[in-house]
């Protein structure tokens, strides 16, 4: 009898335990499933996307109903469902309509004053009319807005819109406010003319005129009247404004929202677009629809590109040349030969200066960097889609001609290294007294075995491969380096923490190209401005400080003489290559651009003489490509 009771009791407990474990099991599966993070996308949304509030009802469209010969399909930009259309908000997760990219703003729906072209370094007017004008001491800038520029509701784009966009940005602290608030004092408007007053230091000099030019190419202008409506609707509450779905948004660009769900995002051409005026493009962009199917991961997007379901693919494709050389597919990239794309940034391994062993030993930092086999990284991780460090010697500059001309190559020649220099690295360590005294094959510092980890997010294949090669280099010079691949959600909370000691060598990319570069990137590499900043997404992730570098960095934005600027950059390069607070592992495009020509053709390519940058036909001056597309036969 008693036995039975126990059995019953046990079975009840067992059933509840079962239920609980099943629930736990389900949760676990969800948590563990997305191991294949998009490897090529480098800057996923920094924070958790807010729950989708603004989904359109499953409207008239379905997959088959977009006419293929009027639709340009994308891949590699949009992950997950769209959150909002609120151009002055945050967490929109709306890559096709609202995306500030490292090398140009995406102007399909919302437009900037100027479009940046990283190839020439020029700014082409979009909403603006003609070039911007500086006054002599770079404290005031004047810009005129095109007469033809109109909002989707038919009203004129005026200076008041620019002013309102900036003011609300500062007030509610959105991206525009956070990025440019410190550099722009105020903006005044007079009809179609605006004057930007640059923020000044105590000595009356402009803080940083470079960022003001960034503002012109990086800020989508929103309509003042719409901002007012939104402001009233939210009762002036900053959080409410930032998170408003913005369904009623007014735009000035050539495309408008058409359809979105968890499967895809579609924009439709706005046939009343002002840009068909002769003062701008003179015509409408060719594709009637812009569509982005939401793929689960990179391989899915790549498969769709290969099948011709995707026309423009912003994804890293390993051995991309195989697609046309081996498989004979009608796929091409900007350049015919390696590196196939325009490399604008350099993924970098940062040394964590919170760890005494790294902070105290520049020799150790340099030795590891010298021992790494970069040719292998470039051949393996990038499948040669990057120039090598013997072709473009390491410095603070990206491999474009414009930036390469900014420092004296001969002056730093002896400091540069092309990698795989095991003997040199060992000699450096021996000289610095970092030796293996207990004979276990690994070197010690202050009597303790040096043991470092090399970290990057799990699933970011190319970076993972690079970290493996860094670890292999450590092995060769007797420094223990083990690899560690935490999930992205963990990684992104640790590496931005200014006091973290968990990651010793970790990966992140500095700025790519914009009017404020390479200055901005140099500041990220060496500037102490970012040291100690909580939740630091801005720069100097290794927490390196150098007073002399700071002084030089501050001088550059205020210097106008080209020779002097070159001298300053050369000195900074010297510091960087001597101190080695971080080391770049490869050069890399800021956006990938592979196109399939089975439906559309006449995409930008290096040899077509049009000089349209390969920015996926959407970003900065790259959008010019949309006006030249043709249907393939």
């Amino acid at each position: 009898m008693k036995n039975n009771l126990i059995k019953k009791l046990i079975s009840i407990v067992a059933v509840s335990a079962m239920t609980a474990s099943l629930l736990a099991g389900c949760g676990a599966e969800e948590a563990a499933a997305p191991v294949a993070e998009p490897a090529a996308t480098e800057e996923p949304a920094a924070e958790e996307p807010a729950p989708a509030e603004a989904e359109e009802p499953a409207a008239e469209t379905a997959e088959g109903e977009l006419p293929r010969d009027e639709t340009l399909y994308f891949a590699g930009q949009q992950w997950g469902t769209v959150n909002s259309w609120n151009v002055i908000g945050v967490n929109q997760n709306n890559s096709m309509a609202i995306a500030g990219n490292a090398s140009g703003y995406r102007t399909l729906m919302f437009e900037t004053l100027y479009m940046y072209d990283p190839l020439s370094g020029k700014c082409f007017p979009l909403l603006a009319d003609g070039d911007y004008q500086w006054n002599d001491d770079q404290t005031e800038m004047t810009v005129k807005i095109k007469d033809a520029a109109k909002w989707s509701d038919g009203s004129d784009v005026t200076g008041a819109d620019v002013v309102r966009t900036f003011v609300i940005g500062v007030e509610i602290g959105n991206n525009t406010g956070a990025t440019y608030g410190a550099y722009i004092d105020k903006i005044e408007a007079d009809g179609k003319n605006i004057t930007i007053y640059v923020a000044k230091t105590d000595e009356g000099k402009p803080v940083n005129p470079l960022f003001v030019v960034d503002f012109l190419t990086g800020t989508p202008i929103a309509q003042a009247a719409w901002i007012d409506t939104l402001y009233e609707r939210c009762g002036g509450d900053a959080t409410a404004i930032l998170n408003d779905p913005g369904e009623d948004v007014v735009w000035s660009g050539p495309y408008k929202k058409y359809f979105t769900d968890d499967q895809k995002v579609v924009l439709e051409r706005d046939d009343n677009y002002w840009g068909q005026d002769a003062s701008m493009w003179g015509s409408l962009p060719v594709p009637k629809y812009i569509a982005h199917t939401i793929y689960a991961d990179n391989p899915a997007g790549q498969a769709a590109l290969q099948a011709g379901e995707v026309d423009v693919c912003q994804q890293f494709i390993s051995n991309v040349q195989d697609l046309w050389e081996k498989d004979g597919l009608p796929i091409s990239t900007y350049y015919e030969e390696a590196p196939y794309g325009v490399c604008l940034t350099m993924p970098t391994a940062w040394y964590n200066m919170n760890l005494p062993v790294l902070a105290d030993n520049a020799a150790l930092r340099k030795a590891i960097a010298m021992a790494v086999d970069y040719d292998s990284i470039i051949a393996n991780a990038m499948t040669n889609q990057s120039p090598s460090f013997s072709d473009v010697p390491r410095s603070l500059m990206n491999p474009t001609d414009g930036e390469q001309a900014l420092y004296d190559h001969d002056a730093v020649k002896d400091l540069q290294w092309a990698g795989n220099d095991i003997d040199g690295a060992i000699a450096l360590l021996e000289e610095a007294g970092i030796k293996d005294s207990d004979g276990d094959g690994y070197r010690e510092y202050n009597g303790e075995k040096i043991s470092l980890n090399a970290v990057c997010p799990n699933g970011w294949t190319d970076w993972q491969a690079a970290m493996e090669i860094v670890a292999a280099a450590g092995e060769k010079i007797g420094v223990e380096i083990t690899t560690l691949y935490p999930e992205w959600d963990i990684y992104q909370t640790v590496f931005v923490d200014p006091s973290q000691t968990e990651y010793a060598i970790f990966m992140w990319s500095p700025e790519a190209a914009s009017p404020s570069n390479p200055w901005h990137r140099v500041n990220q590499f060496l500037g102490s401005e970012y040291v100690g900043v909580e939740n630091n997404w801005s720069g100097n992730w290794g927490q390196y400080t150098n007073e002399e570098a700071d002084k030089l960095i501050k001088q550059i934005p205020l210097t106008t003489d080209a020779a002097e600027i070159k001298d300053l950059y050369t000195k900074l390069t010297e510091i960087y290559l001597t101190e080695v607070p971080s080391f770049s592992l490869m050069y890399r495009p800021s956006v990938f651009h592979a196109v399939n020509e089975s439906v559309w053709t006449n995409f930008p390519s290096a040899d077509d003489g049009r000089n349209i940058p390969p920015l996926d036909c959407t970003d900065g001056y790259g959008i010019a490509a949309l006006y030249g597309l043709e249907l393939a036969e």
Binding site: I6, K7, I10, V13, A14, A17, M18, S21, L22, A24, G25, A28, E29, A31, A32, V35, A39, P299, Q302, A303, S318, N319, W324, E325, K326, G328, L329, P330, I331, S332, E336, D373, S376, A379, N380, N384, N453, N458, G459, T461, Q464, A465, E468, I469, A471, A472, T482, T483, L484, Y485, P486, V595, E597, T601, N602, F603, S605, D608, A632, E633
Partner: protein, 415 residues
Amino acid sequence: MKNTFRQLMHSSKFVLGAGIFVLILLTMLIYPLINPGNPLEMIGVGTFAKPGTYFSLYDALDTKTETLKLKDAEENRLTSIVSMEDRVSMIEFMEKINVDVSGIEMDDVDAILELWHNNFNENSKPKGITNAKWRNYKTLNNRIKKIGKEERVVYDLDPATDEEHKLKVVGGTDYVNINGVVNTKTLPLGTDNFGRDVLKELVSACGTSILIGLVAGAVATLIGLLFGLLAGYLGGIADDIIMFVTNVFTVIPSFVLLILISYSIGQEQRGATVVAVVIGLTSWTWTARSVRSQVISLRNRDHVNLSKLSGHSLVRIVLSDILPYIASYVVMAFILQVSSGILSEAQLSLLGLGPKTTTTPTLGLMMNWAMLYAAHTNGYWWAYFPVILTITLISFSLNLMNTGMDQVFNPALRD
């Protein structure tokens, strides 16, 4: 024991299974002697070199040449430059730019080439041709330029004066004996995404994976055996409690548990042994259940009761009166556990939750990297297929041994 062994040797299934397994073990032992060195050394710069023998072109230039007049050499060269597909696409191009191609035979390479020479201009891209196609035509055109050249000249550059010296003239009929080339390397299975020798890595990984399997199997079998023996022999409350725990573990899908544990111990702690132990800890339940049922059927046998009456201790009864009767069963269970341990490691590593990388290769990690580099979609079969084959062979041989033993030991199946 000897008798049992003889019986086993009569089972063809067991012999085949054991044969395959021993062969794999032998390869693991012998191959590193033939091809010594670190299996994780990245010898290739670049990804996925094809299987085959590589010889140094640099050294080949210094190797003595023989002249061989082979009849179809010229023909082979031509077809390798202009394949049938190329010819079709050349004709397509001609049609596109409105050149009359009637009367051209596909076999008539010379006619096609002549037409090509007369009409292709690499500096003017005809309208309506896609960029991708145009680039293909240009590379084809560059290849075609090589046709008809009798010899090629290799120059040496003097770095001091920047002058070029003619080093060697290579004719179309010059051959070198591959044995005469100083540096050659045979990569029977090519290289992987890191440029590592796949066969060498595979052999080493095979060892690690079998070791993981053995450790996992041993852990699982030990726990299962202990719980099963205790539950079965003691009965009553002890049985209820042990079976409660076992049931709880049975209903949680063990793979989910495995993922959870691996995830939570973090990558830094995940060495091969830790992963093996974790696998063992999550897969003991069915051993426990079946051992228990066997013990229950044994515990009221006369000889056990006799031992009890004689006052023998629990440990002694279990070890000497019960365990020997289920030993064959336990060995069979162990073999299956080893096999599933190897599979579990492969599955875990495929998800990126296997042992940490850099230090030891395992079968699962090899597949993980092959998958990350899309080897399966790009046709680099040598990076993943041999791994799958090896896993299949190992578990096939173990299962075969198990079935063979079952036939010998299980009275119901004995012929």
